[in-house]
């Protein structure tokens, strides 16, 4: 069996406990405080901030994140985290997180909470209406053609099938699978104005 650093720590922890027991048979009165993460579930993840890709362990109990720390087995960060990585815990325990869809009507001075169903239906309708109204099936372009060995420029009506009235930006904060899915969705809507953080 390969012994990873974390396993090693666990094994040696047991070893130390056993040795202590072997040397001292007196009843122990003072108990060490239980670690908060002792009964927590561990899940590995990668830091959402910069591009180093540090490994992290998220400790959870039920629906609560109780701790986040560097993954000591990760070859890049070897357990270390910077201030941003160390504070990822607060992205969950956070009152500013938006947890319900919101809507701001034209000219309104405030947000209102709405249901997912309503928001999705509205966005779908607006996306479709804008796409249908701004869809360009063909475009006049100039192409070069060889006529009797001589290159001449001519204008043609070429198929382009694109939506001119909608643009999208984002996002380097998505997972790979989501980025792929998003570009597929956007190109399925005919968008060509697709950009994100990589350009800026």
């Amino acid at each position: 069996m390969e012994v990873s650093r974390r396993n090693f720590l666990k094994i040696s922890g047991v070893g130390v406990a056993a040795t202590t027991l072997g040397l001292n048979l007196d009843p122990v009165e003072a108990k060490a405080q239980e670690l908060a993460i002792q009964h927590a579930k561990e899940t590995t993840t990668i830091c959402p901030y910069c591009s180093v890709g540090c490994g992290m362990i998220v400790h959870t109990q039920g629906d609560n994140v109780i701790n986040v720390e560097g993954d000591p087995d990760h070859p890049i960060n070897e357990g270390a985290l910077c201030p941003k990585g160390s504070s990822v815990y607060q992205l969950r325990d956070n009152k500013a997180r938006i947890t319900k869809p919101m809507y701001r009507a034209a000219g309104a001075a405030a947000w209102q909470e709405v249901t997912w169903e309503w928001a999705l239906d509205q966005i779908a309708r607006k996306t479709k209406a804008t796409r249908d109204a701004s869809f360009v099936p063909t475009s006049k372009i100039k192409v070069k053609e060889k006529v009797a060995g001589v290159e001449v420029e001519k204008e043609i009506e070429a198929e382009v099938n694109r939506t001119m009235g909608i643009a999208s930006v984002g996002s380097a904060a998505l997972d790979n699978e989501e980025c792929y899915l998003y570009q597929k969705f956007l190109r399925g809507l005919g968008l060509v104005y697709i950009e994100h953080q990589a350009r800026i």
């Binding site: 500013a96 997180r97 997912w116 699978e177």
Partner: protein, 842 residues
Amino acid sequence: MTNHWIDFKNADVILIMGANPAENHPVAFRWILKAKESGAKVICVDPRFTRSAAKSDLYAPLRSGTDIAFLGGMINHILQNKLYFEQYVAEYTNASYLVSGDFKLPGELDGLFSGYDPQKRSYDVKSWSFQKEADDSIRRDPTLQDPNCVFQLLKKHYSRYTPELVSKTTGTPKEKLLEVYQLYASTGRPDRAGTSLYAMGWTQHTVGTQNIRTMSIIQLLLGNIGVAGGGVNALRGESNVQGSTDQGLLFHILPGYMPVPSADLPTTAAYIEKHTPKSKDPQSANWWGNRNKYLVSYLKAIYGNNATKENDFGYNWLPKLDPGMNGSWLMIFDNMLKGKFKGFYAWGQNPACSGANSNKVRSALAKLDWMVAVNLFDNETASFWKGPGMDPAKVKTEVFFLPAAASFEKEGSITNSGRWAQWRYAAVKPLGQSKPDAEIMNDLYQAIRALYAKEGGALPDQLLKLTWNYGFKRADGSIRSIDIHQVAKEINGYFLQDVPEPAKPLKPGEAPPKPREPWEAKKLLGKKGELVGGFAQLQADGSTSCGSWIFCQSYNEKGNMMARRGKKDPTGLGMFPEWSWCWPVNRRIIYNRASCDPSGKPFNVKKAVVYWNPLAVLPDGKMGAWVGDVPDGPWPPLAAGAEGRKPFIMRADGVAAIFGPGLKDGPFPEHYEPMESPLAQNLMSRQLNNPAVKIFKDPAVKEDILANADPRFPLVATTYRVTEHWQTGVMTRNTPWLLELQPRQFCEISQELAKEKGIANGDLVEVASARGKVEAVAMVTVRMKPMKIGDKVVHQIGLPWCFGWHTPGVGDAANLLTPTAGDANTMIPETKAFMAGIARKG
């Protein structure tokens, strides 16, 4: 990155320029310190004495926006003192190629290359081509002596970049320049490696692409590409900006760096013809020759069975650009301001703060009918209608805010700067009603799809023909929730039918293999339904699918390669080949064949990335194999003759490009001033700015103004980040611990400037450019120093761009100051060098 984070430990000299990893990639900085422990020297070149500078052996200041002058001087130093790695330069680069006799350098044409058209602001590149032999191959001079060969032209071009002239332009003291040049050029020896670490300090300029080209030329001259501890390494700023680029979330590329189709290419055949480089050189692998396989496999991935040979694999469902059409960031907001968009998705991004010339961006958002904002937190973009200077009653834009789940509340992979795709698991359910982004995409797709299926509309097939088989289906066939593994598998790709093993070409005299007996099983490359093992197995006939060819192998029949946690490090170089997976085909250092001489022997045997073992016996009985990292292709090294291949397999000619005729602003980098500079005249030529950049000067757009050499804005300004915040700060400003550590906008100024302006440390100041104003706390520091540029003294200031009005009391975005000006090749905005003024407030 060509290399990866841990590989920094293998370097002998580390040049940090245009980056500040101690501040922005702090955990990776440990590998730089490891290199130092082993005796490496660290150089930091930056306008400011940064945290990285503090840990360096050698620091040199420079004026922001003068990197080409600085590095051009290094090229001159390397060539004049013959410090280059001659064998590498002669055999692995295009240094020996002869360029057309009509080609002229900026030294001969007042700062322009030959072929410039001032009306079009672009070059006719005819004179930038190579001379050809009668058989159409490129004419070469292996002795590098011909005055028209790339090497001699390079020498001539950079002979103008003398230490004296460079020092006048950059403000770097001449002796510091020479110290940096000497130390870095010491890596030109075969047994030494130098690495280049850069970030947005190089890219966010109107000469951004050429900044990186200059360093690439240096790395090629010194033989530092493909080796351990070498490379040109972009320290990317976001956890998955590498992945989001790989997956084609940009106007000009599909996944896997495939060009977006244009209207002049009406068929897959026309697309393939145009975008497939050709090479007659038998020793060039010309890997992009496989373009057809990647295009057809992508179409099969997104359209599935709807893509058939008869309908050209659905190629015309893909939206197309007009030839030359630019849909990049600056164009989006320029068009938006002019009312050309009705709808806008801002998905996981905050352009109201991250966009250059943020006032222009904010005005543009008010021209929209509707916007969808997807994020964890409310921000300056979603709530732009109640921002500074906005009257909500007058803003007609409807805004939908959809709450997204955090990274640890969903499952999927992200790709780090070293190209490692690492898997993340869901630790908890999304908070409240927030949803993983993939679920929001699925919900939107299903809702829009249902409308088109019911009501019809403009070309419904564009959407309806997409495959969307990602998990548990409802009775009506729609997907209830996305199984992200199914998406990962689609990206990797499948065999859609049994694909037989291709027949191997016979060598002269070799007997053909025995025909298959009826009772023998067909030899298959892959069986229908199986995941493809790697991109070499992809086909152009529609028998395979693959969403992103560079990700082929990431999730195959062996399992989810991205989730691996093996800790073996057989080379001792820190490549960890069994930890996660990296593209392409788990190759940890790309162009690694260039780390060996033509016989396959490593230039530096102590740090061998790969080496050729001629005695290795392969399963098919053949002899010879590469050992170490996954090599850039299995072929034997160059010296093997006809079967050998040149090392730069992504180039049509197999060698690296010192002369780069594919760029819009010149085949060699030339120094031009930023669009806003303290100088009215370029000290190196009569051409002030990059002649090929697009000029935004519509008189109707009041935000599009520049103030060059303007006494109202005498300070060279730049922007940067701090450890405690990330990007525009949407996540970190909402993290109480981090906001407490770094609570508000500040501006760093020198003691000399502070004295001149009567500003004390801690004073409230107003920083202004021609476009906007920002309030900040003055941080008077020795980290900033006035510089001598030409014969005048120039002050520099800098401020972080992580703040915004939505968080009370922190100050607004630094990008309110930056201009709408983009790089000639990429259109990345020039936010790292602009002009500003500063005054004490109240």
